[in-house]
Subunit: 472 residues, 2 copies
């Protein structure tokens, strides 16, 4: 039974999204324009994302630091592409206490400038390299149109900033983060299939030599840029003077990267897995993995026993012992996306059974109370996780098209948008022609053979196979 507070996903996807965010109590609109409040359910997901990615980063030699919130305008200006890229969308602090500031400062939209300035003060020799630091924080970009998780003036993220002795090592880091951290995290934890590749010149990050991106496809066929990893070469290190004495005893500028994923991933979780009943969370990222719903007084002890047993075995379980009706509790568990629900009623005591309900398929499984419940639940998690991934993968594949010319692109985007693979000559002009079709943009350049060898827009010789899509 679909949740009445939630618009049907196929009726109005945008409204469905807003309804799920609200019903699952993930975020609330604040009275600060364009800024959201992460409510407990939303923040708990973010904490789990943080915990997992933080572990992956620490295991691979990255360390956390905290940089200042503000960037003086002159520091920002040292790298001209960056200031040009971000100036239209930063918030400026111009007064401190009762005084007008001599120099205005912006709230960080990203922290390349601060890390670069700091690195220039601590690096002397190749022996100091690599330096691989990361920070968890919120950043601010003065967006005009905002949507919870997808685009808001303030958002939460991690930003890694590393410097290296050689070009090769820095490029390896750029790729490692994308493939071995982000893509892996999306696959194994979020159960989200994604495409990774290189952004075009037009779409790359201001100041980067190149940008790698991870692109996911939402249920409605709209693409979500879900994380980026930038290779800067020596651009920032020249602008901010991050030089070191290399192995040949010669001064050299460091090779630099930066990369980040954000609370936007919560938006991806909702829009890839959610359904008409609300949120559907993969067990590997869900803060609460099991909810036990005892129906009637006589099963309370049994429910407590199971709850204790599961938690003792590192399965995050809780009992819904509120005064609400069982039906209300079922709906609540569903809207919150709890992967497995255990229902135990009076009849189950008589029969020695209980009922497990999978959130992903809503399938009910009656099991004997004699089973090794920890093992059963663990296997079920594995099943759910795999099923959610493969379902999302099939959908992405069924919505990934090939196109040979603009007419085909138009037809696809007017029928059912999705990813379009099409050859491209490399010119910005042709990118702009694609954009005229419902805002279709290049998502990334793939390292795959061309389709026809001819540019989808101009028909001339193609250089790259590109994935295109309409973006959030």
């Amino acid at each position: 039974m679909a949740n009445k507070a939630i618009t049907k996903r196929d009726t109005d996807f945008a409204q469905w999204y807003t309804d799920v965010v609200k019903s699952a109590k993930l975020a609330a609109y604040s009275n600060v324009k364009g800024c959201i409040i992460l409510e407990p359910n939303g923040y708990a997901i973010w904490e789990n994302m943080q915990k997992t990615i933080d572990y992956m980063l620490k295991e691979t030699g990255h360390k956390n630091v905290a940089m200042p919130l503000l960037i003086p305008e002159n520091l920002m200006k040292k790298e001209s592409d960056l200031i040009n890229g971000f100036a239209p969308e930063v918030a400026w602090v111009t007064e401190g206490g009762t005084n007008k500031l001599e120099e205005r400062m912006c709230i960080r939209p990203t922290s390349e400038t601060l890390f670069s300035d700091y690195y220039s003060s601590i690096v002397r020799s190749y022996r100091d390299l690599p330096i691989k630091y990361n920070q968890w924080c919120s950043v601010m970009r003065w967006e005009k149109e905002t949507r919870p998780f997808l685009r808001s003036r303030e958002f939460w993220w991690q930003e890694g900033h590393t410097i290296h002795e050689t070009k090769e090592e820095a490029e390896e880091e750029t790729k490692f983060i994308m493939e071995n951290v982000y893509k892996k995290f999306f696959h194994e934890y979020l159960a989200i299939p994604a495409i990774t590749g290189r952004k075009t010149e037009r779409e790359k990050f201001a100041g980067a030599e190149y940008t790698l991106t991870i692109e996911a496809l939402m249920y409605n066929g709209i693409a979500l840029q879900s994380g980026t990893s930038h290779y800067f070469g020596q651009k920032f290190s020249k602008a901010y003077d991050i030089s070191f004495t290399n192995r040949n005893n010669v001064a050299e500028y460091a090779y630099q990267t930066s990369w980040g994923v954000s609370s936007r991933m919560i938006g991806a979780l909702i829009m890839v897995h959610g359904d008409d009943n609300g949120l559907v969370l993969p067990p590997n990222i869900s803060p609460k993995q099991v909810v036990i719903i005892p129906i009637g007084e006589e099963v309370k002890n049994l429910a407590n026993d199971y709850n204790e047993l599961l938690n003792k075995n590192n399965i995050s379980s809780y009992i819904d012992d509120s005064e609400n009706s069982p039906g209300y509790k079922f709906a609540e568990a569903e809207v919150n996306g709890i992967p497995v629900r255990i229902e135990i009623g009076k009849r189950d005591i008589e029969n020695g059974t209980m009922v497990l309900v999978r959130r992903d398929t809503l399938e009910k499984i009656t099991v004997s109370q004699d089973v090794n419940i920890v093992e059963v639940i663990r296997n079920l998690f594995k099943d759910i996780q795999e099923n959610m991934y493969s379902k999302a993968k099939k959908r992405m594949e069924s919505m990934t098209y090939k196109a040979n010319d603009l007419k085909e692109v138009e037809q696809i985007m007017n029928t059912q948008p999705g990813f379009i693979k099409a050859d491209w000559c490399g010119s910005e002009e042709c990118e702009l022609k694609m954009k005229e079709i419902k805002g279709t943009k290049s998502r990334c350049i793939l390292d795959e053979p061309l389709i026809s060898g001819k540019c989808v827009a101009c028909g001339k010789e193609a250089k790259h196979l590109v994935v295109w899509g309409i973006q959030y």
Copy 2:
């Protein structure tokens, strides 16, 4: 052997502090005036503090959320004590992108306004109460003079904000957090003894009915306000309209609290436990608890075995296998405050021994390689933790004086400052008279019998026993 990069603690305490912060790589000055950079060693301590306090809060029913970074001026103004208290020390955002804002917004100096505004929108009935939310974030206060960890324009903290059905429950929460979270954390993790009590009217938080505080005494006898817990009564709930239908079906305003501890605690750790060799960290808060220093190639395998064994048993251990000399490594381990150092040399292989060095006493303990090293280290941690606490406690006690009149206060503060217990009549005038003596301020009112019954300043009848001190 004292560290040469560090000024002697008894020679120049302020310089010693700065040297330790720098040598232990805890924080760096940034090029953003008044803002620091938390470097990996400093941030790792902060992460451990967060982890422990977060666990304590979650175990007692608190949930994490994230509120916006900015507060519109009008929202701030709704509670007049608050705006009057903070207006002189906030940073104002007046431009967003290329536009001047219609209403300026401040960067949160604290978030009572945002939580209150949010609570007013989500609370309907007593059934919704209590709500106990917390956030981990940085806040900004436009300080003029700054010192790393002790006072900087930006600092990191947690701020808890709760609302309750009754006065009693809210007051209980205010006290619970102070005694069962903060004081417990200071004792059991930071090994810092502290005094808790109530702030005077003059010293309480703007807008609070009363403020509880935790006050610690630094090595040099200066007091550090290390955390506060406020009871607001219905003041904010009236200003921000947080009303609910109570059990008698009557509309009532909620009873509110807020409380916080910050990265300032890192300053307390340094100034309570540090010595001429650098930082000294209690095992229960140290990110790295054991460093193993192999001396010579032939002991490397043994060092690896021990390192693996310790880490497997949840003891955070690492090997210093850098190319530096053993002496350099010893000094490095000491400056970083690692609780236990294990030295293994060639002769130890022959003798079947190894050397453990306690950071707190620098005592060397030779043990056989046959001992159960995990157990030995665990016991040593317990010893170190207790020893650090009792040493700090003895010092605090020896620096806690009693005074009957201003002359005695003056004499104490001119000789060796510390905590002074003295009776007080309750008048602000007398507080100001005390302040004339080297800035001596009331730290808190104690729930203890009076000494002489006469006010230390005016000699009239006293109402409270107060702890006084010079503060950071």
